[in-house]
């Protein structure tokens, strides 16, 4: 099999929101720099924001909110486990970002007085700024295509290459043909998303996930093998969203006056999404299923909600509700906990980065859901996409030339050929993924305990053996999928070892250990970092202090 070879200055892995922004910013700063994007799907619509979006989740609008208030809000939301600087910087640049998007033609909603329409999604402060943009991804893609950026579709990253300590490129796979591609690059920006395919969604349909199911933790695993540290992998949050569809609607409905109610008609939230913990508690206590009621709202508001739900982020909701004969004027919307996602965007899991989007590995930067800037959402993906590009352009000024490691490429290529071999293999790749994710669901979400977490690690060994020797793939698509399932298994390992290390309970049902049921700030108000090592499944954990604004200590030593 031939391996495609290429060279570039900046290789961006992932062409979604963060990847597009990185490419645009890099070209703004240095038009001569060669930029290449590897995109797993098709660039025009790819990523978690396949279509549009209803809000820029975090914007500090001058005279309304400020970065200090945002920091308080996000610290409260993360129960203290968040480095201050990245979140602060994101908030600080968010208004400038909004203005930039507006200039590109992204439509933000203004009220009667000409002010941006803001909604309360956080405990404190109206940071969420309403947007009405069904074509957000198209606008971004067009901006990138105006630049001289090489875009290679249908490539998933499977490994990073290093020259000594420094990044020297990456190796990827064509998700249709299974062919390999190697790019030599002095710098790589990982924008490959989080891990959306963890346990099974409650519909039982493998791809019926909340988040874009192409995000299979590729970036976490590539980073891990290159020496980064992952944080928050034990944060297994499940949000109560539309039953079976697992699609977002909380912010859109509740911030416009919708009521979240338990089955005894108690109102849990109304007007602001500020008591998500209470929702989870109600479900735990058997007061579920919860539902959202819009019946009391005026027709005008219901139409506005329908317009947004049915046009922006997941327009398919319109036919979902139609199929189920649910009219918001007469029916409530039933909620159910979604599957777990490991995600740096709306969760707290990901590569630990500093305020410069640096991962700690020379030449390697990360932005978007793959990087942990807790609950940064779309604002964070955009801002850190830009920051990563700025840091890379700076890095390239001093960067040495790099070589790719031919032995590494050869061994990955050999492994690929052996996985593509079908002789004497009998396990269907789809069944394999189903079973892996079913077992993940059995052992990894809360309530957790040492016994369960260790049981997963036993299963993981079995799955890895089966993956190498027994799972049969028929074509290039299936082969790429096998690599995705490998990443799913290895992300689950990371989640298990991090959860084993954090001997306390925190974040409600995102990390509840029945053997350590109390929150223990004295010992555990800190990061649990997962990295390569010897303890379990080639992984090890350490802990790290949480860094404040005035901290002299830095996230990564140079």
């Amino acid at each position: 099999m031939n391996i495609r070879r290429m060279e570039t200055d900046i290789l961006i892995i992932g062409g979604g929101s963060a990847g597009c922004m990185s490419a645009i910013r890099a070209k703004e700063l240095s038009s001569e720099t060669k930029v290449c994007i590897w995109e797993k799907g098709d660039f025009k619509y790819s990523g978690s924001i396949a279509r549009g979006m209803d809000a820029l989740n975090i914007v500090c609008i001058p005279n309304l909110t400020d970065p200090d208030l945002y920091l308080e809000a996000v610290q409260a939301g993360c129960k203290g486990v968040v480095d201050a600087k990245p979140s602060y910087v994101m908030a600080e640049r968010s208004y400038q970002l909004l203005k930039k998007l507006e200039k590109w033609g992204v439509k933000f909603i203004l009220d009667k007085n000409g002010n941006y329409r803001t909604l309360q999604y956080h405990v404190k402060g109206r940071f969420q700024t309403a947007m009405d943009e069904p074509d957000l991804k198209l606008i971004l893609a067009k901006k990138v295509l105006e630049q001289d950026v090489t875009i290679i579709n249908r490539v998933m990253g499977i490994g990073l290459l290093k020259d000594g300590d420094q990044i020297s490129g990456a190796i990827g796979m064509n998700t249709r043909t299974g062919e390999l591609i190697v790019s030599r690059a002095k710098s790589v920006i990982l924008c490959a998303g989080g891990q959306a395919r963890f346990n099974l969604p409650n519909s039982g349909y493998l791809y019926g996930t909340f988040d874009y199911p192409g995000n299979s933790g590729d970036g976490f695993i590539m980073g891990l093998d290159a020496g980064v540290k992952l944080t928050g992998m034990e944060y297994c949050s499940r949000v109560n969203l539309i039953k079976d569809a697992s699609m977002p609607l909380l912010a859109i409905t509740v911030t416009r006056g919708g009521r979240v109610m338990d089955c005894f008609e108690n109102v849990i939230m109304e007007g602001a999404v500020n008591r998500v913990d209470e929702m989870n508690k109600a479900v735990e206590e058997g007061r579920g299923p919860l539902r959202i009621s819009l019946k009391h709202l005026p027709e005008e508001t219901i139409e506005e909600i329908e317009h947004i739900l049915f046009s922006c982020e997941r327009p398919v909701q319109e036919r979902f509700f139609k199929n189920r004969h649910i009219d918001f004027r007469t029916h409530d919307i039933e909620l159910w906990p979604t599957e777990v996602q490991l995600c740096g965007g709306h969760g707290m899991s990901g590569i630990r980065v500093d305020e410069n989007a640096w991962t700690g590995v020379p030449g390697l930067y990360a932005a978007g859901d793959v990087a942990c800037v807790p609950k940064q959402h779309l604002s964070g993906a955009f801002v850190f996409g830009e920051i990563a590009a700025e840091s890379v352009v700076e890095f390239l000024k001093e960067a040495q030339d790099v070589c790719v490691d031919e032995n590494e490429i050869l061994s990955i290529s050999k492994q690929r050929d052996s996985r593509a071999e079908i002789l004497d293999k009998n396990i269907d790749i789809r069944e394999f993924e189903y079973k892996v994710r079913r077992i993940i669901g059995d052992y990894l979400p809360s309530p957790k305990n040492e016994y369960k977490l260790l049981r997963w690690l036993d299963w993981s060994k079995v799955f890895k053996k089966e993956l190498e020797n027994e799972v049969k793939v028929e074509d290039g698509h299936d082969l790429a999928r096998l690599y995705e399932v490998e990443h799913i298994i290895r992300c689950a390992d990371c989640s298990a070892v991090a959860a084993l290390a954090r001997k306390e309970s925190r974040w409600g049902d995102a990390h509840y250990r029945s053997d350590y049921p109390k929150t223990d700030d004295d010992n555990w108000l800190k990061h649990v970092l997962v990295h390569n090592g010897e303890q379990y499944e080639n992984l090890d954990t350490t802990t790290a202090r949480i860094l404040n604004m005035d901290d002299k200590e830095v996230v990564h030593e140079n």
């Binding site: 495609r4 799907g41 990523g47 062919e179 039982g204 019926g208 569809a245 398919v316």
Partner: protein, 357 residues
């Protein structure tokens, strides 16, 4: 191969199997099941596509499907032995769809548009020289212009009188699109000139042997690599000496050669991801729907001395069963809807998978 409509519903009457949805799917869920007529077509023409559009009274859109062949549609329509009709699913029932006659109908009716070679807005800035002005050389020239290159064609023995009208039209079309013809030029005299160009294409095997074999370092044993058509360095040969003779095969080889030249200019490997639609991506299995295709009978071509007119063309086109189509292969749908949004015919509906709905 399971081809059904449980999650992705494709309207068999309107789908033209163009494959846009397959390309747009961000989960790589969709594949194209290719009709037998297209499977056997040497140039991979989407026969079903333009025929179904003629049947739907959308001739302008049908023409869009054929524009990439430009003036060569006329050559194919004049010379092809129509293997497509031989495999047409309707053949066994009451005679194959008149694929070939419909192609001639389109080529004749829209010759003005087809003879206008479209130059892309952004040019490549690369220059290509083609040795030989036979069908193969001209086809290379045509595709190279379409790809945005500046094109020069050399011909040693260029005799206007020997050329047919169709060929004369092609030469005019290429000249109008900016191609330079150096007629009656013997390359032996100015080989050094070739170095000016970013790529050199020998369009005929006999050129390869006759013209300065020393310069090109080739002998009668030299084999031409497939699929790259590369001889060495920046020199390509569009004639692989394959046993399949005929204009349509020459055109197919020429288009492949220019694909290689484009990859060469872009520093892309010759084989990576190539032929997705002719190999892995194009699924040979297909399922026909008896409800598609009218009861109209096949008519004898002898009864149509002037070929089809609009009405008869539409009637005969409506006999097509529309065998090919996009379908859900991998069961990875996230119901994000770009496929539906981008379908030019509005033929595709995303139904939510049963487990979720």
């Amino acid at each position: 191969m399971r081809i059904d409509d449980s999650s992705i519903r494709v309207n068999r009457h309107t789908c033209i199997a163009c494959g846009i949805c397959v390309d747009r799917c961000i989960m790589d869920n969709l594949r194209l099941s290719v009709a037998p007529c297209r499977q056997v077509c040497p140039v991979g023409m989407n026969c079903q596509g333009y025929i179904r559009l003629i049947a739907m009274d959308k001739e302008v859109q049908a023409l869009d499907q054929l524009l990439s062949f430009g003036p060569f549609l006329g050559v194919i329509a004049a010379t092809c032995n129509a293997p497509c009709e031989n495999v047409c699913v309707r053949k066994k029932r009451d005679g194959a769809v008149h694929i070939f006659e419909l192609e001639r109908y389109m080529a004749k009716k829209y010759s003005d548009k087809l003879n206008t070679v479209e130059i892309p807005q952004v040019l490549s800035g690369k220059s290509v020289v083609i040795v030989g002005t036979g069908i193969s050389g001209l086809a290379c020239g045509f595709r190279a212009i379409q790809s945005g290159h500046s094109v020069t064609l050399y011909s040693r023995s260029f005799d206007e009188n020997e050329k047919t009208d169709v060929i004369k039209d092609i030469i005019t079309a290429l000249e109008n699109a900016g191609a330079a013809f150096l007629k009656h030029t013997d390359l032996k005299d100015d080989l050094a000139d070739l170095k000016k160009y970013d790529a050199v294409i020998l369009s005929q095997l006999k050129d390869k042997l006759l013209i300065a074999s020393d310069y090109f370092e080739i002998t009668s044993d030299t084999e031409i690599d497939s699929p790259s058509h590369l001889l060495r360095d920046n020199i390509f040969c569009s004639d692989t000496g394959s046993s399949k003779k005929g204009s349509v095969y020459e055109i197919a080889e020429s288009f492949e050669t220019i694909e290689s030249v484009n990859r060469f200019f872009n520093n892309e490997p010759f084989d990576w991801g190539r032929g997705f639609y002719t190999q892995d991506g194009a699924v040979k299995a297909y399922k026909t729907d008896p409800r598609v295709g009218s009861e109209e009978q096949r008519i004898a071509i002898e009864d149509l001395p002037d070929g089809f007119d609009k009405e008869t063309a539409k009637k005969q086109a409506s006999r097509c069963f529309g065998c090919g189509r996009a379908f859900e292969k991998n069961q990875t749908c996230w119901y994000c809807l770009p496929c539906e949004l981008e379908c030019p015919q509005g033929a595709l509906d995303v139904a939510i998978p049963y487990l979720v709905k």
